[in-house]
């Protein structure tokens, strides 16, 4: 392949190490960091168990930075990042990584867009060279865009339109938030995808893809100084950009319960609930988000945790239940609860039962036994996460993107261990109230009662 010859697989390391000692860096258990003069932050965590490395470039731009009419553009641009630069023709990026024995992919969330390669450690320079190239040289064609936007529309059909529970989640968010951009799906509304132009994606790239809006995370069998020097070599010359001012777009206080229903072909109904909840802004001083994490564990941290034990095993109102809360977000937080009612039970029965369980915690709190059980899992999970270089890189990038430091990982376990039962009860009292609640339900429709849809109705953001 032509492209591969431009990327020697084994560049000489001798050239790279010359100014090692010039780069001082602070180190902590979570990793080592260095920021290039163009603003690119580099975080390295050593893991010498295997001769591999994962390299991730995280851009602090996601669907929450989009505006109406071009929803989904952050994710579309993620796809377009594989569509060519002057040096690397369209579609070649992944082939070059594959031929270096690597695997690559990318992902977009509401908060960020990230690109990664997993490789033998000797191939790290190749990955960095390619990432640096597409950070400032992306040059896709209109034709390339026209094909890829069709792929993204297929992705939306596959991910959301034909998945009833995904439609419920989409509607839950669109109802929970009125002002904050978290109301919009990461994949984008179908009509916006249908009307998206190549220039929308190009404009997005010009606006947000810059070293001062990115963090390079490398985890694996490497030394921090090697990586800092490689980063300097490949990314050092890329110019920073003036980034747009990010408006807070705070969600107005919700003043009453909200409900939404989704009809879709399915057999079982489904219930999702969301309560607005705090997230971490100051990892040292805040305590509520840690208490909310523990609360989620008490409700759903293991098979005998409250919801499964009470609703699935004992009363058998639900055939499954779940809880989700993430203290680490750029935007506002949500505490989610979900469940599928047992046959013969309704979503109303399940809602009553779930809210009953929440009320028990508000009234009576949680036991020390429950608390210690969740903490034991926190402690163990911190060790288990070290078995995967990918998981470690994910954690580091995730904390950086929310504006909290990856160093939060150093205090996280202690902060969670310090949560007491009173605090768990206090956050339950504070956040589990009706004025803070949104409920979305799936109303299952028979399969043969519906004509094939070109695109589902009721999804547009108008």
């Amino acid at each position: 392949m032509i492209a591969i010859s431009r990327f020697p697989a084994r560049p000489s390391f001798a050239l790279i190490f010359i100014w090692v000692s010039l780069l001082p860096y602070p180190a902590c258990a979570a990793g080592s960091e260095y920021t290039l003069s163009n603003g690119l932050k580099v975080i390295v965590k050593e893991d010498h168990r295997a001769p591999v490395v994962v390299s991730m470039v995280w851009y602090k731009v996601g669907s929450m930075d989009e505006v109406n009419g071009t929803t989904g553009v952050a994710h579309v641009l993620e796809h377009m990042m594989f569509k060519g630069t002057k040096m690397v023709p369209s579609g070649e990026f992944s082939k070059i990584i594959a031929q270096a024995g690597g695997r690559d992919n990318a992902f977009t969330s509401k908060d960020y867009t990230a690109f990664f390669q997993q490789l033998h450690k000797s191939k790290l320079p190749l990955a960095l060279k390619l990432e640096a190239d597409r950070m400032h040289n992306l040059n896709f064609s209109k034709d390339g865009f026209a094909k890829e936007i069709k792929v993204v529309m297929e992705e939306r059909r596959w991910r959301t339109d034909d998945k009833p529970q995904a439609l419920v989640y989409e509607q839950l968010l669109a109802t929970t938030f009125e002002a904050h951009p978290y109301r919009r799906p990461v994949i984008g509304w179908m009509n916006d995808l249908e009307n998206m132009r190549a220039d929308d994606a190009a404009q997005w790239y010009r606006t947000w893809y810059a070293p001062n809006n990115a963090t390079l995370v490398v985890v694996g069998d490497v030394k921090p100084n090697e990586v800092f020097n490689l980063a300097q070599r490949y990314f050092g010359a890329i110019k920073p950009k003036v980034l747009p001012i990010r408006k807070p777009q705070e969600e107005p206080q919700q003043t009453g319960i909200r409900r939404v229903t989704v009809k879709a072909p399915a057999k079982l109904p489904y219930l999702m609930m969301s309560y607005h909840a705090a997230v971490l802004r100051d990892a040292e001083r805040d305590w509520e988000p840690y208490a909310l994490e523990i609360l989620a564990g008490v409700l759903d941290g293991n098979e005998s945790a409250r919801l499964n034990r009470s609703l699935v095993r004992e009363t058998q109102i639900a055939s499954s239940t779940g809880v989700n809360y993430d203290s680490n977000e750029r935007g506002p937080g949500l505490f989610y609860l979900e469940g599928v009612p047992s046959e013969g039970k309704t979503v109303a029965d399940l809602e009553t039962a779930i809210r009953g369980e929440l009320q028990k915690i508000i009234n009576d709190g949680v036991t020390n036994e429950e608390l210690n059980r969740v903490k034991a899992q926190v402690i163990a999970n911190e060790v288990f996460a070290r078995d995967s270089v990918m998981a470690q890189a994910h954690q580091i990038g995730g904390w950086e993107m929310s504006g909290l430091s990856y160093k939060t990982l150093d205090i996280l376990v202690d902060k969670l261990k310090a949560v007491n039962a009173d605090q768990v009860q206090a956050v339950a009292k504070r956040y589990f109230n009706d004025d803070n609640l949104t409920i979305a339900v799936l109303d299952p429709q028979p399969l043969d009662n519906k004509k094939p849809l070109k695109e589902p109705e009721g999804l547009r953001n108008d």
Binding site: C28, V52, K95, S122, D162, N302, E303, S342, R373
Partner: protein, 440 residues
């Protein structure tokens, strides 16, 4: 870098060949317990944790059509009451020490995995629960009734999902009367009559030491690993070794099914009986499939269907190697209006590949990936545990991982072409379209 645990003794003794690839020698220790269970152990003290799995020849290939789902239900019930412990006590005792319990089943194997901290209190409590679950399950009636109801509800829901419908019909057409046709989860009609006694009998017949494989990796000594393996297998029921599964018969003609569904996309599956785990064509088919549809953006299917035409987000092919011939499957989803076009492209791509084989350049690129990427296959304890279980269950060579790179390197274009021509007949394939463009 400061770390609160030691990075001593490299688990992977790296051997870096001059050609740019690296492979690791994994020191696998292997022995049998006093009851005859086979044990595969890798000692690794880098992280203060331990992974253990136990597998039995108790997969859904042991089911009959009348009792389809019995194998899965038996495995599922192991953690829901054992040796005097209730399901909640089991869950709590594991959670109290931060342990993670997992279960898995496919056509050949059913088993349990445990991940725990290696410190004595945590390890001993977690392993105590695991060994009681595996050796003294109680299958309580009330729990069984509840779990059957939940499984039936899931099956009814699955019957509305295009991907589940496609998969179900795919296996039943591909395998006909062979037990691989039966889905792991069973059927509404076959689950409802299952009684506690059926599970007890199935357990006694198949959860035996003579077909058990224990895999262990982590922060314990050989001596401790031996104790763990003994404790997990000493009290397993005794029974004769399970009979061999029947051979898979190849289809004599093409079978096509179009199934109406209101989804916006058609879900398309094509397939043919593929390869066995110890298949002589294993590496030719494996490397060939990387080029055809296993290698993501380096594969022909992605190139033709997605990159050139924008017809699908996901398009793939794989061989799932089993004791007998597992499926060769091609899958994609595309909006209904273009289902015929996409299917035509897939068929043409497949026929062209079978007729002409890959190019030398494609084979070279495939080998560069598979050989150069070998270290990624064994870069975590979790991945190594899965290899230990497969090596043990299918009685592969202890040097399977060491041999992987040289065996990939030896594959030729002619071998791939020959293997595909002998093993995949594009005229006799099963084709499923759920949500066909003409149907509604």
């Amino acid at each position: 870098m400061i770390n609160n645990f030691k990075w001593c003794c490299a688990l992977l003794i790296g051997v870096f060949a001059g050609g740019g690839h690296a492979f690791a020698i994994l020191p696998i220790q292997n022995w049998q317990t006093s009851t005859g269970a086979r044990v595969y152990f890798v000692e690794s003290h880098q992280l203060p944790m331990l992974d253990v799995s136990i597998d039995f020849a108790a997969g859904s290939g042991r089911d009959t059509p009348a009792q389809s789902g019995l194998a899965n239900l038996t495995r599922h019930m192991l953690s829901l009451g054992a040796d005097g412990l209730s399901e909640d006590e089991i869950a709590e005792k594991l959670a109290d020490v931060g342990a993670e319990l997992g279960g898995h089943i496919d056509q050949d194997r059913a088993g349990v995995t445990l991940r725990t901290l290696s410190s004595a209190r945590e390890r001993d409590q977690a392993l105590d629960i695991m060994s009681r679950m595996v050796q003294k399950p109680e299958f309580p009636e009330k729990v069984l009734d509840r779990e059957k109801t939940r499984l039936v509800a899931m099956l009814k829901e699955a019957a509305t999902k295009p991907e589940s419908i496609a998969e179900h019909v795919f296996y039943s057409l591909l395998y006909g009367s062979h037990p691989y046709a039966l889905r792991t989860s069973g059927e509404v009609d076959s689950l409802e009559p299952l009684k506690r006694e059926d599970l007890v009998q199935f357990y006694r017949a198949y959860y035996n030491a003579n077909n058990a494989v224990v895999a262990i990796i982590g922060d314990v000594s050989r001596e401790t690993a031996q104790e763990i393996a003994e404790k997990l297998t000493a009290k397993l029921p005794e029974a004769a070794a399970p009979p061999a599964l029947p051979q898979v018969t190849l289809p004599l003609q093409a079978q096509n099914r179009e199934i109406p569904h209101p989804a916006t996309q058609s879900h398309i599956l094509l397939g043919y009986p593929g390869m066995k785990r110890d298949d002589p064509d294993y590496f030719a088919l494996y490397v060939g499939n990387y080029i055809l549809g296993g290698g993501g953006f380096s594969s022909r299917f992605v190139e033709q269907v997605r990159q050139k035409r924008g017809l699908a987000y996901s398009v793939y092919s794989y061989f799932m190697p089993l004791k007998e011939q597992g499926p060769f499957q091609i899958g994609l989803q595309t909006k209904k209006e273009q289902a015929d076009e996409a299917l035509k492209v897939v068929r043409e791509t497949l026929r062209d590949f079978i007729a002409k084989g890959p190019t030398e350049q494609e084979l070279k690129a495939a080998k560069q990936n598979l050989v150069g990427g070998f270290p990624l296959r064994i870069d975590s304890n979790r991945k190594i545990l899965a290899y230990l279980a497969v090596i043990g269950f299918y009685r592969l060579s202890l040097t399977y991982l060491d041999d992987f790179v040289p065996r990939v390197e030896k594959v030729t274009v002619a071998q791939i072409k020959s293997a595909f021509q002998r093993r995949v007949n594009p005229d006799d394939m099963v084709t499923i379209i759920v949500g066909a463009s003409g149907a509604s």
